[in-house]
């Protein structure tokens, strides 16, 4: 057999920490998790460590929240620990609303116990006995596996009372979300669990002070938790050697778009976009030209060629005009129109805005309308200024993170692809050939043999020409359906 790996590990670009068990163990068998040192960290914490030691270890590890914001996890735990109350809560945010993202789903489907174990550890360190997992109802398999995992953990005495023979108790319940993007925002998430409308409220107070039913509540993302047992098993000093100065460990990304190897990757912080896209992702599909990479979902931005050698970490991505986000990474090629990309994200935001505050509710709608106009060839140069001004107002005046970040896709495309906007507005051209209204269908005279096939499929009779003679498309009549282009066997019809 050929070399199948195993020996030359050091040259690999990926390190699987959060995905350590994912695709390795049977997620429905707790014993397989235990066989890979599962629940060892919880056992050690409960029998050998004080809560403050655990918090120090998490702080020393440098672990930052993987749900988008990048807040230091240890610090958050410490605040929740210091706030005294008769009841406190540990919440896992499994809302995962970014379009195209499936990192958290994969972790829950592949390694549910890691999240349960981490939540129990968090509970012990902050003095909480109740855990809640907020997951979207559209994740039936993840929910099923979580239920099985919780059941098995209870059976084995790893959730419930007197864990590891101590007087610490901890149990976990699942709460279901209807899949609204804004419910991933932690205050909205908490309100949704309380049975209220899933709308954000102003912070402070932060959940760590006043969260679920006003009690101190620690909210972390699925992937953040998945790192915890391993950090405690291997030590903060093992973990903080991986990554960059201010971003430790790894990040899981869901690679998608025009890339060969679509899938899940987990890379050390500091890996460059180029390494992820070309070395791990295999490069651009059909050997087309790379154009942009979108990170951070609807809150993020589009980065270009000049950012490819940027080492990925929380701060660098923000500096480059995007953000880490939860891990969606969508690669775009020359056929993607960047105005349309911005429009796509704004359409999503308009749909998902909870409507509580007007800058987000009305402003994003206006942004969308402007973008729509531009893609129809009806834009003016003045619109580009309007886009930028309005974006800045929405950012500054929205109540929650959704509105505060929603103009990012517009701003980053304006910054990096201004020419493309101008082409839409001034030349009424879409270079990528994506904006239907700006395209024209032509017959290339040299290629046309006059077979008449195109004229016969044209639904509006836009094509004329005698048999065996060059055909002609009347742009006034053509509705740009593309049928003729598809039908022509001689590559005589093109669209520009």
């Amino acid at each position: 057999m050929t070399n199948l790996g195993g020996s030359k590990m050091s040259q690999h670009k990926q390190i699987r920490i959060a995905l350590n068990n994912c695709g390795v163990i049977d997620p429905e068998n707790i014993k397989e998790y235990i066989a890979r040192d599962g629940y060892l960290a919880l056992g050690k914490c409960l029998t050998e460590m004080k809560p403050e030691d655990i918090i120090r270890e998490i702080k020393d590890s440098g672990l930052r929240g993987r749900g988008g914001g990048g807040f230091p996890a240890g610090l958050k735990w410490e605040i929740a620990a210091k706030n005294q109350a008769d009841q406190k809560y540990v919440v896992c945010n499994a809302d995962e609303g970014d379009p195209g993202a499936f990192m958290d789903r994969s972790i829950l489907e592949g390694d549910p116990h890691a999240v349960l174990e981490a939540m129990a550890i968090c509970g012990y360190s902050m003095g909480a006995t109740k855990g809640l997992i907020y997951i979207r109802a559209e994740y039936p398999l993840a929910i099923e596996r979580l239920k099985i995992a919780i059941e098995q953990a209870r059976e084995f005495g790893l959730l419930g009372k007197n864990l590891f023979g101590t007087d610490f108790e901890f149990d976990i319940e699942i709460r279901y979300g209807a899949g609204a993007f804004v419910c991933g925002e932690e205050t909205a998430l908490i309100h949704s669990m309380e049975g209220l409308r899933g709308e954000p409220t102003i912070k402070p107070p932060y959940p760590a002070e006043s969260g679920y039913f006003g009690k101190p509540t620690n909210v972390n993302n699925v992937e953040t938790y998945a790192n915890v047992p391993i950090i405690l098993r291997k030590g903060a000093n093992w973990f903080n050697k991986i990554g960059t100065e201010k971003s430790k460990g790894t990040k899981v990304f869901a690679l998608a778009g025009k890339i060969k190897n679509v899938g899940l990757v987990e890379v050390p912080m500091g890996t460059t976009l180029r390494e992820v896209i070309y070395e791990i992702g295999g490069g651009i599909e059909n050997d087309k030209k790379f154009k942009a990479v979108q990170t951070g979902g609807p809150s993020g931005g589009c980065l270009t060629e000049k950012h490819l050698d940027t080492p990925i970490d929380f701060d660098n991505l923000v500096q480059a005009g995007s953000m880490m986000g939860s891990g969606g990474m969508i690669v775009m090629d020359e056929d993607n129109c960047m105005v349309s990309v911005a429009k796509f994200y704004l359409e999503f935001t308009v749909e998902e805005s909870c409507g509580k505050c007007s800058p987000c509710r009305i402003g994003n709608k206006r942004l969308y309308e402007l973008l729509d106009r531009i893609t129809q060839g009806k834009g003016e140069m003045e619109d580009l200024k309007r886009l930028r001004n309005m974006s800045n107002v929405i950012k500054d005046t929205s109540l929650c993170g959704l509105g505060q970040t929603s103009p990012n896709p517009v701003l980053s495309t304006l910054d990096n692809f201004y020419d493309e906007y101008v082409a839409h507005v001034v030349d009424k051209k879409c270079i990528a050939g994506q904006c239907k209204d700006l395209m024209t269908y032509f017959v290339i005279e040299e290629n046309c043999v006059g077979c008449t096939a195109c004229a016969r499929v044209c639904p509006v009779g836009a094509i004329t020409g005698e048999k065996k003679e060059v055909h002609y498309i009347n742009p006034e009549i053509c509705i740009k359906c593309g049928a003729c282009e598809e039908r022509c066997k001689f590559d005589a019809i093109i669209v520009k």
């Binding site: 199948l4 990926q14 997620p27 014993k31 235990i34 066989a35 890979r36 994969s106 592949g110 790893l158």
Partner: protein, 131 residues
């Protein structure tokens, strides 16, 4: 099931599960079994992993090959789903992509029975926490 009360209890289950660390805790610790894991995350199942798993379980039994077929989560190779990992006794595990029932049959007949190469191998491209 008696509840786990101590670290020693945990250790006991762990040892029960893996006489060999690399077996990843399959309950059947026979040295001679071929071990197959089928990637059954949402994207694997959507691409037909369940049919592949059913086929493998049935075919290996019918063809008298000692094997343990189990499910696992997403291996990360969405572009090549369904994916399976095959570990022949005493050998390194090999991950195959694009495994439909036909390919699974080929893997049994060529790779498992004869040790011949079958197309679609996905090389290991990551480090683990133990490396």
């Amino acid at each position: 099931m008696t509840k786990i009360k101590t670290l020693a209890d945990l250790e006991r289950i762990k040892n029960e599960m893996r006489s060999d660390k690399d077996l990843n805790g399959s309950q059947d610790n026979s040295e001679n079994a071929v071990r197959i894991k089928v990637g059954m995350g949402t994207s694997g199942i959507a691409s037909g992993a369940r049919d592949v798993m059913d086929f493998l379980t049935e075919a290996l039994e019918k063809r008298n090959i000692e094997a343990v077929v189990s499910q696992t989560g997403d291996m990360g190779y969405s572009y090549a789903e369904p994916t399976i990992e095959v570990r022949k006794p005493g050998q390194k595990p090999v991950v195959f992509g694009y495994v439909d029932v036909k390919k699974a049959d080929l893997i049994i007949e060529k790779y498992i029975k004869l040790g011949e190469e079958v197309e679609g191998i996905i090389p290991v491209n990551y480090q683990t926490i133990d490396d």
